[in-house]
Amino acid sequence: MAKAAPVIDSVDALTARIATMRKAQAEFAKFTQEQVDKIFFEAAMAANKARIPLAKDAVEETGMGVVEDKVIKNHYASEYIYNKYKDMKTCGVVEDDKAFGYKRVAEPIGIVAAVIPTTNPTSTAIFKCLICLKTRNAIIISPHPRAKKCTIDAARIVRDAAEKAGCPKDIISWIEQPTLELTNELMHSADIILATGGPGMVNAAYSSGKPALGVGPGNTPAIIDDTADVRLAVNSIIHSKTFDNGMICASEQSVTIVGDKTYKAAKAEFAARGCYFLKPAELDKVRKAIIINGSVNAKIVGQSAYTIAKIAGVEVPVKTKILIGEVTSVDPSEEFAHEKLSPVLAMYKAKDFDDAMAHAERLVADGGYGHTSSLYINTDETEKMDKFEEAMKTCRILINTPSSQGGIGDLYNFKMPPSLTLGCGSWGGNSVSENVGPKHLLNLKTVAERRENMLWFRTPEKVYFKRGCMPVALDELGSVMGKKRCFIVTDQFLYKSGFSKRIEDKLDEMGIVHSCFWDVAPDPTLQCARRGEEQMRAFEPDCIIALGGGSAMDCGKIMWMMYEHPECKFEDMSMDFMDIRKRIYTFPKMGEKAYFIAIPTSSGTGSEVTPFAIITDSDTGTKWPITDYALMPEMAIVDVDNMMTQPKGLTAASGVDVLTHALEAYVSIMHSDYTDAVALKAMKQVFENLPSAYDNGASDPKAREGMANASCMAGMAFANAFLGLNHSLAHKLGAFHHIPHGIANAIILTRVMRYNAAERPTKMGTFPQYGYPHAKARYAEAARFCGVTGKDDDEVFEKFLAKIDALNEHVGVPKTIKDFGIDEKAFLATLDDMTEQAFNDQCTGANPRYPLMSEMKELYLDAYYGREPRSYEDE
């Protein structure tokens, strides 16, 4: 046998013991779940076996409580705690989600300082030792001097069984001669404090600077509503209040009864079951005996009703269960309104339920913030129960339950965790508001592996293409979908030049009635959309066709949204997002009223396949960019017959816009294999077809068709990969200086590409897929696909920029912003605003390089003056 450890009776001895315990705990921390569970089992078994002698010892030593009830507490502390936590994982990996790369690893905290009260000495010792063993913590107990022998005996039994089952020595220890100095020293040296005790103790625990799980006083009020089962209520309260002579902190201290009738019935039941109602003269004697200057007389704690009456000089039958004082005041000056830690109960009469709640609230506020409250009621009275739940500032609210047994959990409700340390939340100055258990004694480490964001690829359910496909596609409306009423949204030019007529003829042929709103202007306004929507609402279409360029299609999308969901607000819908899948605002489902078809008449915006729409409120000048897949058309018809007569300027501007779409989507931090494919093909087609489409117009239908498909594919790419800084900057050039969108994009394109291509950017974009700055390699990849060759990425990149410059020049894009005719003074005056707004543009977030505003300003200035190209490296 090893020598017994030296007694802890001084700070030095305590320090030495803690040092040994640290070593033991370090070893214990390596134990597996299996080893720990074996120890937990043996320790619980041993404690349970000793429940009767420990109960006897506790009563004998403290002179408080009832042996038979303490047996139950010891039994509970071993059996219920074991049962609840036997399968809980407390060692190493306790959760492992491989798909998400998310793991939780449990580690012990170290040394637990446990302060144990006189009221429940052995059961609390068993409870705290067991949860420490389960969590591989070491525990050192500071017992109360009045209960030190039985507390230490209980701890010793658990320790011996644990050590026999393989637990390292010294994992469970105690202070033999508790003093304030040692207790304070213990709290300072431990890693966490499990304090159970009075306010002084809990204060000391919290001021020790170590994390503490402390509990405070209770002053549990019980209400018996006039709908309650009075017999059940009264006998539950007697059962609870007499349990261990009323020493459980959750025990009822007062009962407030609603209404005369219930009061009378309850009083009769209390009396019939052996409770004693104090006569007026006796009341004062008991008041003086139980509370001295506002504190409980230590001599009455845990004594029987008879003994307390005797101390007070009141004669009651020996078998009296509870002394009941019928009182009216809930003020602290009324002794009966206090926590009494004995079978003494205050009884109040309330005129109604609200009055009873007011009593309970006051009693809780003056002595039991955060602890427990109790209500006896017919559970059909949900309204009253809701009120009670809401009003009580207590962490346990018990319904039709004896509060001593109910508060500690798992006896009258099987989801409430069993515990002998009851958190009282911030109301009670505690760090926990629930019943304390093993989880509070663990440090849980989270291991999070890098994962790539989930992505999707979304397009309209049908995209018709090839010259002449429009009538074929429209035929489906009648033959397949059985649509009856179709509404066309377009602009004056297209309406007057007969473009919409071709649709109407087809609809007539199928017997689909139709109406047309043909007043969409470029940069459509909300007011215009509202007019169209009014017409639409009157017509009640089951199908909407938007025919035109970006403006008509955007306006059609907005009208569709307003028609389907008039309740939606543009302020909400236009809120910026970081990730479209995590945005704050959820768009409603579309398509419940009408099917939406987009038919482009120019090859540029790709709006027929994108979830974007921009609308301007002409009253306020606010531009609402609306983005959501809800706005994605359900069918797109890309028929080059609709695009043959585009004017040259439009061909040029929308053509270079397509190239920008494809390039930005290709280097976006959200690009994917799916968007790459369409982006590459789109940009290649621009290089191959735009010059001829620009030069030859309708006389080269092949080139026109190439551009139509390029536009749609680029739309698909950026509908899913989004755009970048180029668009952010161009949007503001359009907004402030009215440079057509495509031209604005093209003027700055190669500079932004250089800026993005920097190998040492100031900051890069944030997205798990984007691991390191590599936009230059991406541009080079795209360049090679478009036929550019060279010895390395640098050369290819330079040649690619030259190729883009050449294309721009061919289609008449000015070289600088100044060349477009923007006045220098006007430009400089708006520069700061443009910069800030461009920074805040929704497109900025997907850019591979996260821009600083100062850098964006430089880009604007470089593009304005046509300064010599530079590297934009962060040097």
Binding site: P145, T183, G198, P199, V202, I292, L341
Partner: protein, 252 residues
Amino acid sequence: MKLSDKKVELASRGNKVVYADGDRIVKVFNSEKPVSDVFNEALNLARIEETGIRCPKVLEVSEVDGGWAIATENVPGTTLAKKVADDPKHEKKYMEQFVALQLEIHKHTSPLLQRQKDKYARMINGLECLDATTRYELLMRLDGMKPETAVCHGDFNPTNVIVGDDGKLYVCDWAHATQGCSEADAAMTYLLFALDDQKTADEYLDLYCAKADTPKQVVRHWLSIVAASELSRHRKVNEEFLMSWVDVADYQ
């Protein structure tokens, strides 16, 4: 120092005799009184004087007949206790003055005065009439006292308040002065009243709590502590009474 022949004995308690000697009051301690205690009392008085609280000035500390003595100013006037005894009809008025004076004192700080908490802890630790468990309970309760710095007289009762002939109030006998929790100081005053008369004690507490805007239970919370510290003065007559206040349980 030498006392003159004109000296008049005012009081004689345990280890000291108090004389009025012309314009001086001299407290003469016998040789059993530790010298450090005498100097400490003089030091307390000097510190209190520096705070601006009205009190008799300390004039001299020196040996007298083998013991040590403190000489202070003799403030011309009458103690508040005597005023009340002579004029019981106006007891309420005097009580108001008394409470107002105590609250005024509590507003002062004196950073070098000894700490109330330390003093009480020392007194409780030295009590042999209490068992270790009760001392532990008391120390635990005391440990929850927040660190406060109000000047506390420690023995504030009407015999220590002089109504000067100039109409101003002076406070004497600062031997127990500390810095700490004003409610605990009020608890001590309540206790001193209660030793004589519970009714006056209750009147005092009502008035103090109303004027200080403090709940009574905050004052009462310290009664077991001050009762224990009073026990350490070993006055047999009060022992049973004080013991009945000491043995209370903290809520668990």
